[in-house]
């Protein structure tokens, strides 16, 4: 079974075609990174996978299900880690309450936590290694700690697939390394991971697939097959350099952020 299977997928936002004729097939389980310049449609693709956006044409299946027809089933199987800056810092939620959120949303109001929910939260807190911050306010944590809490929230309901939108933004090197170890262990346990990132060099040695997106899939496959200067130049322009130093391949899109 494939974790994601998209065929001729076109998605419009406010009349603007953000994704056009996307064809993509990802094995399950697998670890995939999506790269592309700003406005390439990376987040839109994640939201379409979750069934939050409906395609204008084409089809998409996630873990064998159509997210436009069975969004609840898909969302129960897919954990989502949004960009950290989308989360409100007005709300003084404790880290463990943030994590419990993804279990309680599936209950009926008033959605009170049971002992089982509390045990599940405790288990994932220990797994992610955030025992010391579980009782602290989310808005008072560092970027790396917040990211770990959001990942813990996404995996507490034991999803088959994990979507992460720019998980390393504003995260220090040590936390990045800890998050990568966590993602690798999830991958080994059979969870498919799909990560949107701007900097692929950090994850290049742990991903199975790399997708270069620019409104459509420009290239997809093994990282070394995608990270080629002639392919990257089609998206990022001529001011791009690819540097290889085993086991790492780096590319510097000097004009991707203007």
């Amino acid at each position: 079974m494939n974790s994601v299977e998209a065929s001729g997928l076109t998605v419009k936002l406010n009349g603007f075609e953000v994704l056009r004729d996307v064809n993509l097939s990802l094995n399950h389980p697998s670890f995939t990174a999506i790269i592309g310049p700003n406005g390439a449609g990376k987040t839109t693709l994640l939201k379409t996978i979750l069934g939050l956006l409906k395609p204008q044409s084409g089809s998409i299946r996630v873990m064998g299900l159509d997210p436009t027809k069975e969004p609840k089933k898909v969302r129960s199987m897919v954990g989502y880690v949004p960009q950290r800056d989308r989360v409100s810092f007005f709300v003084p939620m404790r880290a463990k309450d943030v994590i419990a959120m993804s279990r309680l949303v599936w209950k009926r109001p008033p959605r009170w936590a049971t002992k089982r929910d509390e045990a599940a939260v405790k288990k994932v807190v220990s797994m992610v290694g955030i025992e010391e911050i579980a009782d602290r306010r989310f808005d008072e944590l560092s970027g790396g700690q917040q990211q770990k809490v959001l990942i813990a929230r996404a995996i507490v309901s034991e999803p088959s697939m994990l979507l992460l939108d720019e998980p390393f933004n504003g995260v220090d090197v040590r936390s990045q390394s800890e998050i990568m170890s966590l993602l690798m262990s999830l991958r080994e346990k059979g969870v498919s991971i799909l990560m949107v990132t701007h900097d692929v060099s950090d994850v290049i040695h742990i991903i199975d697939n790399l997708v270069l997106l620019h409104r459509t899939v420009v290239a997809a496959g093994k990282p070394e097959d995608v990270l080629k200067e002639e392919i990257l130049k089609r998206v990022y322009g001529d001011r791009i350099g690819v540097y290889s130093h085993e086991p790492c391949i780096m590319f510097v899109p000097r004009d991707s952020h203007g």
Binding site: K47, L50, L52, P71, K72, R75, S76, V78, Y80, P82, R86, V87, S88, F90, V91, P92, M93, R94, D97, V98, M101, S102, L104, V105, W106, P109, P110, R111, R137, L150, R153
Partner: protein
């Protein structure tokens, strides 16, 4: 010396207790990033109350202006919520500014054409006076507060999640639009309830000052809500005492004590942090 158990004071004590319950809407406004909304809702409620009084006067119908005020404020905030979901925070602000203008314009127009005895009733919604509440108004305040508390308790988690991370909540399968509209409705309802106690001009101070004070001092959302209610109680009873001792308007005294609580907290926090 005023008898502390005189009927009008007992009614004021009850009204303040009910206000403390409903003051959590101030916290919800702060959590949702629309702290200005209860004040706008209160001004819309003023327009609603004016319409209620006018219709009762013209048609001789028994129409409680308080109910019309609550409906008017809730519909206004729901409309703002609808506009905001399509156009973002700026659209909410624009819609509420329009509602505020409409509410105040209706008030001014109705006040102009009402007889003098009804103008006094209408002005009660502008400046409020917790010391002249009638039994029927206390009953209505109780019904609205109890309804508010039931809805809030049942949907507490939804409200917090929508405020914290609407995108993540939607991705988890929650009907974010529905609960966001619920938040707007509850804020409108609370704004109109507070209007009766302190008047639409002072709702902002009573509803928001305790909430932002509580946020500065709380380690969790539940703590913030409890503290908001406690500070509202303190401001209510403290303001009432100031009003009686110095013969000042009750609404203004309550709002001043609520605002001073915030100022005092911020000053205390700064001093504490310097040490």
């Amino acid at each position: 010396m005023v008898d502390p158990l005189s009927p009008f004071l007992v009614k004021a004590y009850v009204a303040i207790l009910l206000m403390a319950g409903i003051s959590i809407s101030g916290s919800v406004s702060v959590l949702r990033g629309i702290a200005y909304m209860p004040a706008e809702a209160a001004h819309a409620a003023l327009g609603g109350a004016a319409l209620g009084i006018l219709v009762s006067h013209v048609t001789n119908m028994t129409l409680d202006p308080y109910v019309v005020a609550a409906m008017f404020a809730s519909v206004t905030t729901l409309f703002a919520g609808y506009v905001g979901r399509r156009g973002g925070p700026e659209a909410i602000a624009a819609a509420l500014a329009g509602a505020l203008t409409l509410g105040v314009s209706i008030y001014a127009f109705v006040r102009y054409i009402l007889p003098a005895n009804l103008r006094v009733v209408l002005d009660g919604y502008l400046v409020g006076d917790i010391l002249i509440l009638k039994d029927s108004e206390i009953a209505m305040l109780s019904i609205l507060t109890i309804a508010y508390m039931i809805i809030f308790t049942l949907f507490y988690n939804e409200i917090v999640y929508v405020c914290f991370d609407p995108e993540g909540a939607e991705a988890m399968g929650m009907n974010v639009s529905l609960y966001d509209f619920m938040i707007f409705f509850l804020i409108g309802l609370a704004g109109s309830v507070a209007t009766k106690a302190v008047g639409s001009l002072l709702v902002y101070a009573l509803v928001i000052a305790p909430a932002i004070t509580a946020k500065e001092l709380s380690g969790s959302v539940r703590g913030m809500l409890v503290l908001t209610s406690a500070i509202t109680l303190l401001a209510g009873y403290g303001g009432l005492a100031v009003s009686l001792l110095f013969d000042m308007p009750s609404g203004g005294s309550i709002a001043v004590v609520a605002s001073l609580t915030y100022v005092g907290t911020m000053l205390g926090k700064r001093l504490f942090q310097k040490r």
